[in-house]
């Protein structure tokens, strides 16, 4: 079969398909989203967008325990959500292979932290595989299924953004069909009552010991002999950077970084005069190497934050001064990401401006509303934390602060983990006003379906969840809907609701402009009527700018949504 350029995500999907995977589940999250999108293209694999990562992992575990090879994919913070079943799954083990993909995001390209999920393998006693390009991502996905079955354990495939979103050359192979293995009830293995779980823990330690031996011998942990001056131990994409900077060094590269192969490392250390560990973010390998009593340089030189790249490795370990011509130009205006032209979130944030509120924010495109001109968010913590933060703040502040405690949460995030918070508001009664910014899609990750859209990942039409009815069922009596394109009306509705005590939900409903490809005729400013008051500018629309004291609409950017016309006090935009 001919060579293909695949992203790491696509290569993992290809590997899962080739390995006979039958069930896959995920919640979209950058940089992991494209794994399930690519896998869903193969008709042999049942794929779903689960409501969150815990659900996805449990779905995959359910499939594995009943005899189907299964995969769950998530971004690094998703594994926090799925941590509960992840730890139990290590005790229970698998029947057919179970692979959990964690896509970490060193550099925080699109995340709230840069945690290093190799530690999850250590904590849960689960093997961790870490590819360094797309071909390896495919091969290690297949190996992960094999290990999972041979050692009765889920396998964590840990990638990073530069693996997930780099396209490198892949040699595709055929699918090896894996029929269902047949299900037998085994309560002592799968029911984690304390009496059973105690035994499973002992069993897990035995499996982990065997895995340690495997890690010592697998060809995926291998020495590439070069000069005996410098020896470099590394995993994942760090290998590629180090190879670039040290073309002549000796390498010990890990495709399987947990359990840690101590003997292999000792033997390698004996071959070289100077030992470096090159790894991203945390000193995971380095701690293990130091525990062996070996002298090694690593995070004393390399940064412990943000992603590596060739120049960071070079300046940390080679230390030569960089020529001036390679330093970035200074004094340039930043170009932070911004909400798109026609984005319904801009209308909602405009409506919130100058209201007396403390805003618990959440995760999605609308998190950009924390930036100017809206400054519309007090916190953004994790998926679903808008409502629960607001509830906690409400209980703490009571009458001592006149600012109303509100939550801003997107539709997909609401289904992910907002619902439990809303039930809590209804049950434990707070005055939290929850704004669900419903744009009929999972926007930030590139338009995935969710329970409210009425369509599944595989394209099946289903009954959409009725957010308003759900809110009422949670004990929220006041539920109103409004279209954020009618900005002034939205502001009025929010004002009215904020004045009344008791929990409330406001659903801002308008599809994402990118989703529907909105491109209506552009609006224009009547320069005779425009007084340059900048009201429209404070929408934060990328099509609007000031020119010679008047507002100006860039016709090539404008999509004609009309929100600026709605807010203009002089009716100068049409």
């Amino acid at each position: 079969m001919s060579r293909k350029l695949l992203s790491g995500d696509e290569a993992i999907a290809r590997g899962a398909w080739e390995a006979g995977c039958r069930v896959a589940a995920a919640y979209p999250g950058t940089p992991s989203t494209e794994i399930l999108e690519a896998l869903a293209e193969y008709k042999e694999v049942y794929c779903e967008w689960s409501t969150n990562e815990k659900v996805a992992l449990e779905v995959a575990l359910g499939a594995s325990l009943t005899g189907a090879r299964a995969l769950a994919a998530m971004k690094h913070v998703g594994l926090n959500v799925a941590a509960d079943p992840f730890f139990s799954a290590a005790y229970i083990g698998t029947h057919a292979g179970l692979v959990v993909v964690s896509a970490d995001d060193p550099g925080l390209h699109s995340s709230q932290n840069e945690q290093d999920n190799r530690y999850y393998g250590l904590a849960a006693k689960v093997p961790v595989l870490c590819p360094s390009d797309s071909q390896e991502a495919k091969e290690l996905t297949k190996l992960a299924f094999e290990i999972s079955e041979e050692f009765d354990i889920p396998v964590l495939l840990r990638i990073t953004t530069r693996i997930a979103h780099s396209r490198t050359v892949v040699e595709p192979a055929e699918r090896e069909e894996r029929p269902l293995k047949g299900y037998e009830k085994k309560p002592s293995k799968a029911v984690m009552l304390p009496a059973f779980a105690r035994l499973r823990h002992v069993d897990l330690e035995a499996r982990y010991d065997r895995l340690r031996e495997y890690s010592e011998k697998t060809p995926w942990n291998r020495v590439e002999k070069g000069s005996s001056d410098v020896g470099i131990i590394c995993d994942g994409v760090a290998y590629q950077y180090a190879r670039e900077v040290f073309p002549d060094a000796s390498f010990l590269r890990f495709g399987m970084v947990n359990p840690f192969p101590s003997r292999l490392v000792r033997d390698f250390a004996a071959l070289v005069r100077k030992l470096f560990v090159v790894e991203e973010v945390d000193p995971f390998i380095e701690l293990h190497v130091k525990a062996l009593g070996l002298e090694v340089a690593g995070k004393d030189k390399l940064p412990r934050w943000h992603e590596l790249n060739p120049e960071r490795v070079r300046s940390a370990l080679v230390g030569e001064a960089r020529p001036d011509r390679t330093k970035p130009e200074e004094g340039l205006p930043n170009r932070p990401p911004a909400m798109c032209p026609g984005c319904p979130h801009t209308g909602m944030y405009f409506a919130l401006q100058n209201q007396k509120v403390i805003v618990g924010g959440d995760i999605g495109c609308y998190t950009l509303g924390a930036l100017p001109p809206h400054n519309g968010m007090d916190t953004c913590i994790d998926m679903g934390a808008s409502i629960t933060f607001a509830h906690g703040a409400d209980k703490a502040l009571g009458d001592s602060d006149e600012r109303r405690r509100i939550a801003v949460i997107g539709d997909s995030t609401f289904f992910h983990s907002g619902i439990t918070g809303l039930v809590n508001v209804g049950y434990n009664r707070s005055d939290v006003v929850t704004i669900v910014t419903d744009n009929s899609t999972t926007g930030m990750t590139g338009h995935q379906e969710h329970p409210g859209t009425g369509r599944t990942l595989k394209g099946t039409e289903v009954k959409p969840v009725d957010t308003a009815a759900l809110a009422r069922a949670c004990g929220i009596d006041k539920v109103v809907e409004v279209d954020p394109y009618t900005v002034k009306q939205t502001r009025k509705v929010i004002r009215t609701v904020l004045k009344e005590p008791g929990p409330a939900v406001i659903i801002n409903r308008r599809p994402c402009a990118l989703l529907i490809g909105l491109k209506d005729p552009p609006k224009a400013v009547d320069l005779d009527k425009c007084t340059g008051c900048k009201t429209c500018i404070s929408l934060g629309c990328p099509a609007l700018t000031m020119q010679d004291g008047k507002s100006m609409i860039q016709a090539t950017v404008c999509v004609g949504c009309g929100m600026c016309a709605d807010v203009c006090p002089k009716e100068a935009i049409a």
């Binding site: 390209h109 590629q240 390679t326 950009l368 930030m444 990750t445 000031m546």
Partner: protein
Amino acid sequence: MNVLICGVGGQGVILFSDLLSSAALSVGLDVKKSEVHGMAQRGGSVNTHVRFGPKVHSPLIEVGTADLVVAFEMLEAVRYVHFLSETGRLLYDTYRLDPLPVKLGMVERPDDDELESRIRARAAEALEVNAFGKAVELGNQRVQNVVMLGAVSRHLELPKRAYLQAIRNNVKKKYVDLNLMAFEAGAELAG
């Protein structure tokens, strides 16, 4: 060969680099291409790295080693000019798209003359390509990226058929003809 492509989210930087990397793949080279998705893409500064040759390790280009920097916007050209090697070449669109903080009046954007003199001071060779203008002329501003690709093709040693095939394989059917036209127009601009 190291090619860094930069612009603003939505300008088609990613499709450009997909086309360039498939063209390089089709002539039997090793190729790596790196990009970012998600929040980084929403109207922010976007860059992709494309590397090809007999064997490529790092998916990222080291600063000071790019043979070519391709910029879809002038401010972005200056932002990434330090990636150029001593003999590297910059191809940039003079198109101007102000960042939101500039539109909001929070910061000033250096004027185009200043940007240009900064480019000239840093790049061994810098060539203007009015790709956006040409795309508008062709009736669809979204082909700015493929006009640019046409221009870039004049500065790389990949055969023309490799680009054309990449366009046919990667672009939606109904836009293939428009994109082939855009490619030719771009090649002419640079010729």
